[in-house]
Symmetry: C2
Subunit: 373 residues, 2 copies
Amino acid sequence: MNAVVYGVGTSDFGKQRETTASDLAWTALSEVFDDAGVAAVDAIYVGSVFGEMGVAQRALHPFGLHDVPVIRVENACASGTTAFHEANAAITVGRYERVLVLGLEHMSRRVAGALPPEPRDPHGRAGLVLPALYAMAATRYMHDYGVTREQLAAVSVKNHAHALDNRRAQYGMRLTIGEVLASRPIADPLTLLQCSPVSDGAAAAILGPPRGGPRDVRVVACAMGSGGIWDHRSASVWGFQIVRDVARRAYELAGVEPDDIDLVECHDAFTIGEIVTCEALGLADQGKGAWLAASGETTLGGRVVVNPSGGLLSRGHPLGATGVAQVAEVVTQLRHEAGPRQVDDAEIGLVETMGGGVTGIDGNGCVVAVLRR
Amino acid sequence: MNAVVYGVGTSDFGKQRETTASDLAWTALSEVFDDAGVAAVDAIYVGSVFGEMGVAQRALHPFGLHDVPVIRVENACASGTTAFHEANAAITVGRYERVLVLGLEHMSRRVAGALPPEPRDPHGRAGLVLPALYAMAATRYMHDYGVTREQLAAVSVKNHAHALDNRRAQYGMRLTIGEVLASRPIADPLTLLQCSPVSDGAAAAILGPPRGGPRDVRVVACAMGSGGIWDHRSASVWGFQIVRDVARRAYELAGVEPDDIDLVECHDAFTIGEIVTCEALGLADQGKGAWLAASGETTLGGRVVVNPSGGLLSRGHPLGATGVAQVAEVVTQLRHEAGPRQVDDAEIGLVETMGGGVTGIDGNGCVVAVLRR
């Protein structure tokens, strides 16, 4: 039996220094219970990375959610989708009838710029923080496939334009390729506008078994895996083999092909990330992902719309909230309720998130879900 | 179908500043795979509170555990048993065949003394950190039931003596009531030796379906709940209603009564904690828990042995590792492999952990498991 998403909700995404994680959760929780049309849940999975001990209980208690099992999970940038994965499994096996997934993260008082490496992380000490790793991948990828800086920047232009129609997004902007390339360099060839920002936000979803609700959206697959990326022994160190492997399992479970997907919310923490992830998801051949955004194929109105919400680059990337916000976007699209950013005739949507330690070398988690109208 | 514990493992517990969480995990992982006699697992649940983003993946990757779903959970002091709860559920519903539970925490480089409240926690700002809350509960409890300081201290004497026979314990000591009461005051009436220490440690268990292994131990119940404690509207603010409720469900699931329990590993973060928890677990009537340790009933050789490992007070309390270490102790006892601290004829054991935010007011999680030889 597939689980069904009954409802979704989000807070605003952005730097909101005068709020707390609990404040943001309140907004998302208010929305999700209204939207799902349920009054109570049997268990709660919460994705949060930087929240203090007990952050989940603290955010839920004022809302009156304090009598059911609360399980906070952390899986770096994939924390929200890991919570979703566990909730989905709990429904499909019949453990619970109603499960709430909450993603929340308040980063702006904790982090400025790149996520700081842990003091004893040898890769971090060597300077291999995430922007540097993605930059190295971008450099090698550009060299091997004749990709240009302009093609990288096109991802940023597309996603910032998508975010203009998302009132919850952090940075909706009409940009040119030149403006993206002229923004402050972070780790060459990546400029500021090619890196996801520091964000605060919350997102929520309620899942249950099928109930015949006309707005309910089916979760036809949710696969999860772990593994290293940036493997220097591999001929394609930028290749995100883990995403390829997990996506293959998700497509099998869902009984669909990459060509069947109408829209994707994926992990564009950096522009190069969206490009190699689209390849790993089978939306383009290896080495051809850079042509997707540049040609308009993944822009609203194109063949397969990637990150109609604005993605991590432009909607924002509050780590634990991101995966649940991706689910919320896909659900809204599959209900045909996305307003000015609606993907025409959206029937099948895909969510992909990848998370790892600060340097991303030692271990990563990846979740791919396929949802269907 | 009940899940079965195939094997357990732990690191040393104590202040180990020159180690990392990954170092401690390595020891526990080496032991648990040897002990369980399995070579691989299908999923991994990791309990850890203070570990950085990706701490779970980072600890598992060097051990070659990087191809399966890794889900890190945080539920304050109950993080380890929350991970155990999720692993147990995954086995009982048939999601996986082999699941690893790992608890790990490296605290000594992060925390000195009481856990610090979050900057925006109103209770913490008012001074209501955990030692203060437990002290207030102890004061009221002593007043209402005519309990003495000496009876509180007897819990510390018992658990430090138990820890003498546990080579992994942090503080095995032969103490007198007078020495406990004469130790440095922390929050009156609680003295230093009545408070669990800052600890580093790791513990692990591998679960699966029954396989007929002669040393395997059955998990006949694992219940989990959430809720506030320290409810000022209650006539018994020290009463730990949440433990009472979750324990009742665990006893029902297991089909046993409190009188059937041979040994208990419970959440003695402070001496008063063990006393009220024993009442909530049905081992003594309300107001009579303080007579258990003082009379020797819960000492090794007594009617029902409480915290034969030394408990949080003496084995140590590395938050995320604690619940898994409790499971490891009960499994070892039920196998009759506990050596000098073996509980005679141990057939049924109980694990209880409670965790909340730093102040414990807003929300708490509680897990109670019953294991059977």
